[in-house]
């Protein structure tokens, strides 16, 4: 069984919650973690799980729909579009390196050395 992708919203982050959600969902779709036809959680369910207003989640879904990543159908929920653009291998590598750089920068700011950073990644992979 594949692990279910997780969405995280930090209410202390200056980026609005709807944008945090939009960005994460867009990445999941473009990286094919969410395949065409996969259904996104219902608005009210996701809003309750994240402790957000329904309108916040609705705005994130609207933005994704405008970008052609998802399509909504009355009674059928919101699904990943069949025509959603996916990342090429090189784009995927580039995104992975970007995330790795961000992680290393933050870990360095916390005072972690190279071995601690590698150990932490190994731990995260093991869980």
């Amino acid at each position: 069984m594949t692990a279910r992708p997780l969405l995280t919203v930090d209410t202390g982050n200056p980026t609005p919650p709807y944008e945090q959600l939009r960005r994460q969902l867009a990445e999941l779709i473009q990286s094919a973690a969410l395949a065409p036809g996969d259904r996104l959680p219902p608005l009210r369910q996701l809003a309750a799980d994240l402790g957000l207003a329904v309108g916040t989640v609705a705005r994130a879904y609207r933005e994704l729909e405008s970008a052609g990543l998802v399509s909504s159908r009355r009674g059928g929920g919101t699904r990943v579009s069949a025509t959603a653009p996916s990342l090429s291998d090189s784009e995927r590598q580039q995104l992975l390196r970007s995330h790795a750089r961000t992680f290393v920068q933050q870990a360095t700011l916390l005072g972690a050395d190279e071995q601690q950073i590698l150990d932490t990644i190994a731990q995260a992979l093991a869980t």
Binding site: M1, R4, P5, L6, L7, T8, V9, D10, T11, G12, L25, L28, L34, D38, R39, L40, P41, P42, R44, Q45, L46, A48, D49, L50, G51, L52, G77
Partner: protein
């Protein structure tokens, strides 16, 4: 008057149970085991307490309803009234479950569906019983006639010979079936609403252990709701079967097939009583949840 007293006493008792549970368990530390999953004690006990409060209120309201209503309408409505109170208790308990607080919130990309949490066997039995009840009261409503005081849909009429009629009452005609259908329909709609509350409420956490615990709580709630709907349907079904069978077998000039129909209704009565027993067991020990598939993505 006596019914009102029972209702007020039961409602007070249920309120005391719910409030006491809230105060005592709201901050209970640790976990308890529900169907093999370690569930936060506060959430597990709070939902269980609301469910118990619903059962107590339901027993009181059912007893009060049984004592009210003209010409046997009260006992017929006692089951649905009991079921409605249990559903309200379960829904209140689920609404009381709060998501993990804090500035950083995490949720899985998943679609929770009612069928992932329903106990399949029990749900199928309750659905079948509801269909049988609907069909049975449709037939009894069509075949009923007015009683000697002109009250429509209260007796079974049979013309034995020219100018000679035999009647038998009570018969579940419109006098009984209309309020019964209204209350059962309201109860089943409330059951659907309570299931939506169970599915839609926030998760208590996003890691694998928290999700397993949360799913165990939801299955327990869905099982209780199904059990309450079962009582809501099976009790009036048993009553309608008993009264109808009594009428069919009592009229002396009845056609031969009425005897078979009467015995078939008595067999159905046994099935309805068995379903009531199953549902009662579920309400008393809902943690023995049926295994269900995990939510879909």
């Amino acid at each position: 008057m006596e019914g009102v007293l029972v209702l007020v006493t039961g409602a007070c008792l249920a309120t005391v149970v719910a409030v006491a549970a809230w105060l005592v368990h709201a901050r209970s530390p640790g976990t308890v085991t529900v169907r093999g999953a370690a569930v936060p004690a506060a959430a597990a006990r709070r939902t269980a307490s609301f469910r118990l409060a619903g059962v107590i209120a339901g027993l009181a309201a059912g007893a009060a309803a049984a004592g009210q209503g003209a010409l046997g309408r009260g006992p017929l409505l006692a089951g649905p009234v009991f079921g409605l109170c249990v559903l309200a208790g379960v829904a209140a308990g689920e609404i009381s479950v709060r998501p993990a607080a804090g500035p950083t919130r995490t949720a899985a990309v998943e679609v929770r569906r009612v069928r992932d949490y329903l106990p399949r066997g029990l749900a199928a039995a309750v659905t079948a019983a509801a269909a049988v009840l609907a069909a049975l009261i449709a037939v009894t409503t069509v075949t009923a006639g007015p009683d000697d005081l002109g009250r429509a849909g209260r007796v079974l009429l049979l013309s034995c010979q020219a100018g000679l009629q035999q009647t038998y009452g009570p018969w579940p005609g419109s006098f009984y079936s209309v309020p019964l259908a209204a209350v059962v329909a309201a109860g089943l709609i409330a059951g659907g609403g309570a299931l939506r509350v169970v599915i839609r409420r926030a998760r208590t956490g996003a890691d694998a252990a928290a999700v397993a615990a949360d799913d165990a709580l939801r299955r327990r709630a869905a099982r209780t709701i199904t059990g309450a709907c079962g009582i809501l349907v099976a009790l009036p079904l048993a009553g309608v079967c008993l009264v109808s069978a009594g009428a069919l077998l009592s009229i002396s000039c009845h056609p031969a097939w009425w005897t078979y129909a009467g015995w078939a209704l008595l067999a159905l009565l046994i099935s309805a009583v068995a379903l009531m027993g199953w549902c009662a067991a579920v309400l008393l020990a809902p943690a023995r949840a049926a295994t269900a598939a995990p939510p879909a993505r």
